[in-house]
């Protein structure tokens, strides 16, 4: 065990009053969080919602609710990451040239390097691992079992555990804002900067453990989704009929399952360096800091495909629905997804072409990287041919999907440029790279926002407001254009990334444009929140039937909206790739089962939440080196897992008569539900479902 700088006590570890930052911005964030917390807790108490929250959400194993909670965590973190972005843009627009003013103790701008560095590190870590990843996992959670006709995931309890471990990671990052500090070594954890000698504080530890703990959750979730897709398909749901989104979920989770362990190892070795004084990545004593880059990107590149493949799947569901045509090239689409997943393991070195590998090595990885463009191109043409001669309707999900297509074009082509080592040598580490991967991640964000709008009525039973949704889309797109086109340009002009001060005043116009762009994003967020509010308020006017869009195609739209907690009253038999279309053509749409059966369902459990709480203790103890807390939490986690394995009573049965009653009420349909003001069953946000286990 290495000795760390500064005071340490057996009880509090490195924690002391000095760990509370004194900075007006953080104080503001703290007050904001406290007020928000009080409002939420006050509402829960006032409206007597604690029991509901506990029964229906915190202890649930229902894949839809778990998915929704994943998405909520992701959206909250997306907002936090956005605030980080706003702060970085504002710093860079203020700190241009030697005559730029300084505020709050900064020489230029209003953030000292110590803070600026934490902001960009937090931004990247949050956006990739705690916004994009959880939202995607959440959407896969909600949609995949419905698309394959399953009642839940293969391992509902494990599913809840994955959720709470992700929440722990997010909580650790949020805690670092108010207790101690965060890493300043970038989201990639630049070595040897992350080593104890250069980062003696707790920031790197927060970063490291937040990722480590949440990625255990993601890995478990990946195993679960794979098992679900392989083992839980309804009769007739052959591989050739599997909806494309489920195919991409399968490919993406294979990537997750095989690549996250590498990250675990890389961070684990770094942990050994920081806690036990080993020398895996140190600068000296036989350490090899290049090995860290190698290991990090061995996960990092597959991870970028982990986030984009589900987005491709979402686009592949949305575009046919709103073109009222089957997807063009189903088989090539599946093949392309797996080709992308396959190639994604052999391109990681393109993130460090400039490290000095031999020309042969660089050439190999350059070619491998460009090969990814082939399956991606296949996909783009498939989508284009799907729209071609279709009856296109540009409702909000379609706008997002088509927007994603444009982002993919720009991001993919700039990626191709970066894939050529000679080009890469001149723009590596510039904001051109930053613009490239943001355009790419915009594909993911657009896909996500389209998918949330698209599947929202399936889960909640009513549609989101169209006109506000469109405003959200257009302001968001205007923001994207205003931020990233100037960013590409300034990257070409040689602006390096992660700058808290720009020495070249010629860059100012671009920074101003980007600041305007982030303002447009801010406006778009206003419309998003308003869209959610208005839709919730007017939900009874917007109730939908099973097929929320009137032209949906896949199996999930056969189940009622909102989906009851058991999904399908009777396990469906699948006849075609586009099952709903098949049923529509056979005149079977809206057909009801002749008789109902008892349904065994998993019982709620608080164990995942408890393990999550203990994991938070473990992470917090490790960060602050409070060994008693670490040991206690660790032992308690193991004991809890063992104790849970003795619980035999993990299921209950929903009686056939009960199923029939729920189904009858759901079938009264959206119009009637709206007329008598009753909200239907299922996972309505505002009403507890009636048959709690």
């Amino acid at each position: 065990m290495v000795n760390v700088q500064g005071p340490w006590s057996p009880i509090l570890g490195r924690l002391s009053l000095g760990a509370i930052p004194d900075n007006p911005i953080i104080a503001g964030a703290f007050i904001f969080s406290v007020v928000l917390g009080i409002v939420v807790l006050g509402y829960l108490t006032y409206a007597d919602r604690w029991g509901y929250l506990w029964r229906e959400w915190l202890t649930t194993v229902d894949h839809k609710k778990i998915g929704v909670m994943y998405i909520i965590i992701g959206l909250v973190m997306l907002f936090r990451g956005f605030v980080d972005a706003l702060m970085m843009r504002t710093q860079q627009v203020l700190a241009d040239g030697p005559h730029s003013p300084g505020f709050l103790g900064a020489a230029h701008g209003y953030l000292v390097p110590y803070h600026f560095d934490q902001v960009y590190s937090a931004h990247g870590t949050i956006m990739i691992l705690f916004a994009a990843t959880p939202i995607l996992v959440g959407l896969m959670n909600v949609v995949v079992p419905l698309q394959i006709g399953a009642r839940d995931m293969a391992f509902p309890y494990l599913n809840a555990l994955g959720l709470w471990l992700t929440a722990v990671g997010a909580a650790l990052i949020m805690l670092s804002l108010f207790l101690g500090d965060f890493s300043h070594a970038g989201w990639v954890g630049l070595t040897p900067l992350t080593e104890l000698a250069y980062s003696p504080g707790v920031g790197t530890d927060y970063w490291m453990w937040a990722i480590q703990i949440s990625s255990v959750g993601t890995t478990l979730g990946a195993a679960n989704l794979i098992a679900t897709i392989v083992k839980m398909r309804a009769p007739g749901m052959t591989w050739g009929r599997l909806p494309i989104f489920t195919w991409t979920a399968l490919s993406t989770n294979i990537i997750a399952l095989t690549s996250f362990p590498v990250l675990g190892v890389a961070l684990g070795l770094l942990g050994l360096d920081r806690y036990f004084g080993t020398h895996f990545f140190t600068a000296g004593f036989g350490g090899n800091l290049m090995l860290y880059s190698d290991l990090f990107w061995m996960w990092g590149h597959p991870e970028v495909y982990f986030v984009i493949l589900p987005a491709f799947g979402m686009m592949s569901e949305i575009i046919p629905t709103f073109s009222e045509k089957p997807l063009f090239g189903y088989v090539t689409m599946v093949a392309a997804s797996f080709a992308i997943a396959g190639v994604s393991w052999s391109v990681w070195l393109h993130h460090f072409f400039t490290m000095g590998a031999s020309p042969r090595v660089n050439t190999f990885f350059s070619v491998a990287t460009m090969v990814v463009g082939i399956p991606t191109g296949v996909k783009v043409f498939n989508w284009a041919f799907t729209v071609y001669r279709g009856r296109s309707r540009f409702e909000t999900p379609m706008l997002w999907a088509v927007g994603a297509l444009f982002m993919l074009l720009v991001g993919g082509l700039t990626g191709m440029m970066l894939a050529m080592p000679p080009v890469n040598y001149s723009v590596h580490n510039s904001v051109f790279v930053v613009a490239h991967f943001h355009t790419m991640l915009m594909v993911v964000v657009y896909g996500i926002l389209g998918a949330v709008t698209y599947w929202f009525p399936k889960v909640f039973g009513f549609r989101l407001n169209e006109s506000l949704g469109k405003r959200f889309f257009w302001f968001f797109t205007a923001g994207t254009i205003m931020v990233f086109i100037p960013m590409y340009t300034s990257g070409f002009m040689g602006m390096t990334r992660r700058l808290d001060y720009l020495a070249n005043p010629a860059l100012l116009p671009f920074e101003v444009a980007e600041e305007l762009g982030i303002g447009l994003y801010l406006v778009s967020i206003y419309y998003f929140v308003r869209q959610l509010y208005v839709s919730l308020r007017d939900r009874n006017a917007n109730r939908v039937s099973a097929d929320a869009w009137g032209s949906a195609r896949t199996l999930e739209w056969v189940a009622p909206s909102p989906v009851p907690f058991y999904n399908f009253a009777v396990t469906p038999r699948v006849h075609a790739r586009d099952e709903l279309v098949w049923r529509r053509e056979q005149g079977l749409e809206g057909a009801v089962p002749a008789h109902f059966e008892d349904i065994p369902m998993p019982r709620n459990t608080a164990v995942p939440l408890v393990i999550g709480a203990l994991a938070l203790g473990l992470g917090f103890g490790l960060v602050w080196r409070m060994w008693w807390l670490t040991d206690l939490s660790f032992v308690a986690i193991i004991l809890t897992v063992i104790a849970r394995s003795f619980v035999r009573d993990t299921d209950y049965v929903v009686k056939a008569a009960e199923v029939e009653r729920i189904e009858k009420r759901l079938r009264q349909g959206a119009a009637e539900a709206a007329r008598n003001g009753a909200s239907a069953s299922g996972i309505d946000v505002l009403r507890p479902r009636e048959s709690s286990p």
Partner: protein, 116 residues
């Protein structure tokens, strides 16, 4: 899943549990790891230390696969076994390409020489 899926103890995967095999795997792993530690501490003990270490590692992995994970080609385990086999190409790519890069990297960057 509607059949008797709700009793976990009836799952064929769970029925593979075998106390004796677990203990055997554990004992074998302990012995082999001690041997590996011994070789690492005193490389002069056997003629080709690296080869010896690799052999011990391979033996340990085989024992884990057979006794602990019980991978075989039965209908219960086939998916797991195939996934395991499919991990090998990845292993070759990840380790192989890294070795290829690092092979000339030290000479080209001269970093490790500087870091002592």
């Amino acid at each position: 899943m509607a059949h008797d899926a709700h009793d976990p103890l009836k799952h064929p995967e769970v029925r593979l549990v075998n106390g004796r095999a677990y203990v055997a795997a554990f004992v074998a792993a302990t012995v082999l790891m001690t041997a590996a530690l011994g070789i690492a501490m005193h490389p002069g003990m056997i003629p080709h230390a690296m080869v010896g270490l690799s052999a011990v590692a391979a033996l340990a992995v085989t024992i884990q696969i057979l006794f602990l994970l019980q991978l075989d080609f039965s209908s219960t385990q086939i998916w797991t076994t195939v996934s395991f086999l499919l991990a090998f190409p990845l292993f070759v790519i990840a380790v192989g390409l890294s070795l290829w890069m690092f092979h000339s990297l030290d000479a080209r960057t001269m970093l490790t020489a500087l870091m002592h």
